[in-house]
């Protein structure tokens, strides 16, 4: 109770308290939003599953046993087994690691890249803008999956290359968003006022422009996560992403598609995992939009 009062104090006494209070308020708002809560739970579950995979999964994801091929779901194998007799439940659990890795790396590579390129382009305008945005448009005008395919094909199949390919195809959208925001921010009086204080362009971009772009960026990235997972799965499905025997959900669906009519569970179970995680990110993204959107914020 005392802690809460400290956090919600209308006039905090120190920078730390102010920052903690803001974080607390955002999380309170998130908690109040049921969809966001569901999304957060799903993602938390994903993270826990990935971290604790060896303890949760009953078997190793690669252990083959040809004597029990394509066993339907039962109390022994919750999700059945695949054509090589591997336990699908264990593979789905380990697959969470791969998915999380893809999502995290793509976000870490493409969001900052797009943010920086967009902010620089919008802030300076003129030739800088024309060149950077020309480049962005070239990437943006190609269908995402086809471009990722081309990159993956050129770099060779494999999970790292799939990640690079996806990252390369996602940044242009972020650059566009950041540029649109930077374009309006650069003409504001608070930027003019900061320039008058003697601040350099670098400082203005990092301290004034970027913080204003980030919340729309976070929302966009979260909403895009579902698409990223699907693209990764798509690459896996086409054999250009994760390579066997790595338990990647898309690749699992791909290998199960030949038995989809008789042994439905082989393709369905990983597909189900993809849907649940994608939905989780969508829900969280929507919730974040409600909470972080500057227009709905404020007292």
């Amino acid at each position: 109770m005392q802690l809460q009062a400290w956090l919600l104090d209308d006039s905090p006494a120190s920078r730390g308290q102010a920052a903690a209070g803001r974080a607390y308020r955002v999380s309170l708002d998130l908690m109040r939003n049921p969809l966001a809560l569901v999304g957060m739970l799903i993602i938390l579950l994903l993270i826990l599953t990935a971290a604790l995979a060896p303890w949760i999964a009953p078997e190793t994801p690669v252990g083959q046993d040809l004597t029990r091929r394509l066993v339907p779901p039962s109390s022994e194998h919750w999700m059945g087994t695949d054509q090589l007799g591997r336990d699908i439940f264990s593979r789905v659990i380990y697959g969470a690691r791969v998915t999380l890795l893809i999502v995290a790396l793509v976000a870490v590579i493409s969001a900052p890249l797009g943010l920086l390129i967009g902010a620089v382009s919008g802030y300076f305008g003129g030739w800088t803008d024309r060149i950077l945005m020309g480049m962005t448009d070239v990437f943006l005008s190609m269908p995402k999956l086809v471009l990722a395919l081309a990159f993956a094909a050129a770099l060779g199949p494999g999970i790292e290359n799939a990640i690079i390919a996806i990252a390369i195809t996602t940044w242009p959208a972020y650059a566009r968003i950041a540029r649109a925001e930077a374009l309006t921010i650069r003409n504001t009086e608070f930027v003019a006022a900061t320039r008058l204080l003697g601040a350099s362009h670098t400082r203005i971009i990092t301290r004034q422009v970027l913080p204003l772009c980030t919340s729309s960026m976070i929302i966009r990235v979260t909403l895009d996560m579902a698409g990223i997972i699907l693209t990764a799965a798509g690459l896996g499905f086409l054999g250009l992403g994760a390579q066997p025997p790595l338990p990647e959900w898309g690749a699992m669906i791909s290998s199960g598609r030949s038995f989809i009519f008789d042994q439905w569970w082989v393709a369905t179970m990983p597909g189900f995992a993809i849907i649940v995680v994608s939905l989780g990110f969508c829900f969280l993204g929507d919730g974040l939009r409600d909470v972080l959107d500057p227009k709905s914020e404020g007292k």
């Binding site: 919600l8 209308d10 649109a180 374009l183 309006t184 003409n187 504001t188 227009k295 709905s296 007292k299």
Partner: protein
Amino acid sequence: MALLSVEDLRVSFPSPQGRVNVVDGISFELGQERLGIVGESGSGKSMTGRALLRLIRPPGRVEGRMRFEGQDLAALSERQMRALRGARISMIMQDPRYSLNPVMTVGTQIAEALRVHEHLPRREVRARVRQMLDSVRITDPDRVAGLYAHELSGGMGQRVMIAMMLIPRPRLLIADEPTSALDVSVQADVLRLIDDLVRDRSTADGGMALILISHDLPLVARYCDRILVMNAGRIVESCAASDLHLASHPYTRGLLAAVPKMNETRAELPVMDRSAWAGT
């Protein structure tokens, strides 16, 4: 019958200490007249205007009855409300340069406002935009029509906003600090333009009614018929405009005393002691 009647209007926002009413149960009626709302910063003037147009976003909440031309505003669907905004009731926002679209030229935006409500050939739209900018005393309308919001001077931004809101000929105009950045002579012209629209009975349903929100007491006294004085979300005084100098509430008197004079000799202006009557 009154054009607009407001009964026990409340606007509240959540705060860590529970919901606070920033507009706290105000009631008034408006006929074919010019109503001024004055009061100091944060007293809830703008929120009253926004509530009438249902522009308060969640988590803000509006309660109370508002009837406009016999319709219950609270009962209208969002779609009907959109049709009403701009066409029947329009509002000049307090921060014009924020309310304008930063990446669209001024001319395009005004044309847009016109086109939503009327279908006119492009030639005519151009002419109407020009004429409107001209009537708010913008000296070279053709140049200004091609500028972006940040390229306008403070006063031009306000006038562009006024032009945009007047062009569809609304029945009720809510003007929130419409002239705070204008010098007196332009201000007089702009107010005269608004006044002409109020008096112009040539349109089918008579002239326009006006709610003028302002902190400039002499101005409101000059241009309105009736004045409401607001403080901390309530109406503390209501009087005919011509009687403003006779106002009795200490809050109103405080506001009047704080206005500097043309031949100012006081070394310091009296400021209000807010603790005396403000609830917040």
